[in-house]
């Protein structure tokens, strides 16, 4: 009998309280316990660094964010096209199955070094390609499942109406597949950001968050490194929340 809809305040207070307490304990332990900075800098120090050079952190976030975004869009478009082909052409589906399965489980970032060789280490493109490959698998798999998920009763209904193939696709198959596409996109968006960032650990221009975290850590500027990590967290949240909003919008329309 839980018909009651929880108010936003009731949903928000426990995590917010936990965050406040956790940050307070973090600050307290680091300052009072004299924790060395290489282990964990104090939140105050990280905040100080954030405020000291917001421009640097902002531009690095934009570089990595753009790479992730390009990768996400390219990967998702290719995935949707190929999923449509796989749903329509059975032998293509069967032939692509092992490749997609491998792409889904393999650490994509391991392709980074050869990608730099193949496309040139001076540009952002290898990073965008890696992000695209990482985003591809979840979108392809969920979209394909969505396209196949036509309920038998709906298929029978379309047959009973003597609907043409395109009519059935438009009225039943596509609206049914849309929520699946967006849930795949939701997973893909974080993978794209993570891959774009991690690829930077393997080389390329030193302008993104990943590169700068490594440089800062290498020169023992731990608070600065954590400030870049903060940028990465914000970036991940932005991608997640935008795709979540898209998913919510699509599920309301569908």
């Amino acid at each position: 009998m839980r018909a009651r809809i929880a108010s936003p305040l009731a949903v928000a207070w426990p995590p917010v309280a936990l965050a406040v307490v956790a940050v307070a304990i973090w600050q307290g332990v680091v300052v009072l316990g004299k924790v060395p900075e290489f282990l964990l800098p104090a939140p105050g120090a990280i905040l100080g660094d954030l405020l000291a050079h917001p421009g640097l952190i902002g531009s690095a976030t934009l570089v990595t964010g753009l790479n992730g975004l390009v990768g996400l869009v390219v990967g998702a478009v290719v995935a949707v096209v190929l999923a449509a082909v796989a749903a329509a052409v059975r032998f293509f589906d069967r032939m692509s199955a092992p490749i997609v399965a491998a792409v889904a489980v393999v650490p994509i970032v391991s392709l980074a070094p050869v990608c730099y060789t193949m496309f040139g280490a001076a540009s952002q493109q290898p990073r965008q390609y890696i992000a695209a490959v990482a985003a591809f698998a979840p979108v392809f798999l969920t979209t394909l499942r969505g396209l196949r998920q036509v309920r038998p009763v709906h298929r029978d209904l379309m047959t009973a109406y003597a609907a043409s193939g395109w009519q059935a696709t438009r009225t039943v198959t596509l609206p049914g597949a849309l929520p699946y596409l967006f849930s795949g996109l939701n997973v893909a968006s974080s993978l794209a950001v993570i891959s774009a960032l991690v690829t930077e650990y393997f080389g390329g221009p030193r302008d993104g968050l990943g590169s700068l975290i490594t440089s800062a850590a290498a020169t023992s500027n731990y608070a600065t490194a954590w400030a870049y990590v903060f940028g990465a967290i914000v970036l991940g949240l932005v991608f997640y929340l935008v795709t979540l909003a898209l998913e919510w919008f699509a599920s309301r329309r569908a």
Partner: protein, 267 residues
Amino acid sequence: MSDAVAIAGVTRTFATGRGPAVTALQDVSLTVAPGEFVSLIGPSGCGKSTLLRLIADLDQPTSGIVSVFGKSARQARLDQDYGIAFQQAGLLPWRTVAANVELPLDLHRVPAAERRARVAELLDFVGLADFAGSYPDQLSGGMQQRVAIARAFAEKPSLLLMDEPFGALDEMTRERMQTELVRLSAETGAAVVFVTHSIPEAVFLSDRVVVMSPRPGRIREIVPIGLGPGRERGEALRENPAFYAAVTAVREALHGDGAVPVGVENR
């Protein structure tokens, strides 16, 4: 000996998110004697399932008293004085038929040898001895429901609570299950509280039929069914004029004005 179930002045209201609270049951009183078969019947929303859940201590009354064999409903549940079956068989899909029937015995630490013997006896009882090693998904709906009934009888309860246990079955299976149930309850001497939508089902099974009305849920009338003891009831009874007379009596109690309330089957 105290009554199997004694309900005195029970009211149950549910708070809703917005708007006024819903009164599911209002001032309901009812007693069930040991060994008696009582059906609760009424349209959707009359609170018959709520009443059963109160007896089972799956829910608590807003006011009033529910006692089972002279104890509180909670104590009766902790003492395992009743067996229960729901509309869904509610079998655990990863357990075999035998292991499903064994579940309550297993939970209450009955020794293994005793458990095995009791399970064999119960499966024999419901005619599923050959399916002991099968999994629920290999059985038909009727067979799954028989497993659930065997499970309800597992601890030789002196009270059985059943919430539309045959609701999802086809008519033929349903009639066969009804015949089996009257036989089983008569042989074990258990009192039964049985919730149903179906008038003929209530009449065929019961010593008394409790007719309820909705909004707020209350008892409208209690119809005694004088069709003789359960062990003598068989398929022939369904064609007996006395059976039709009892069906008519219950139907009239349900709706004096002749309109068929929503959710009651007249089959």
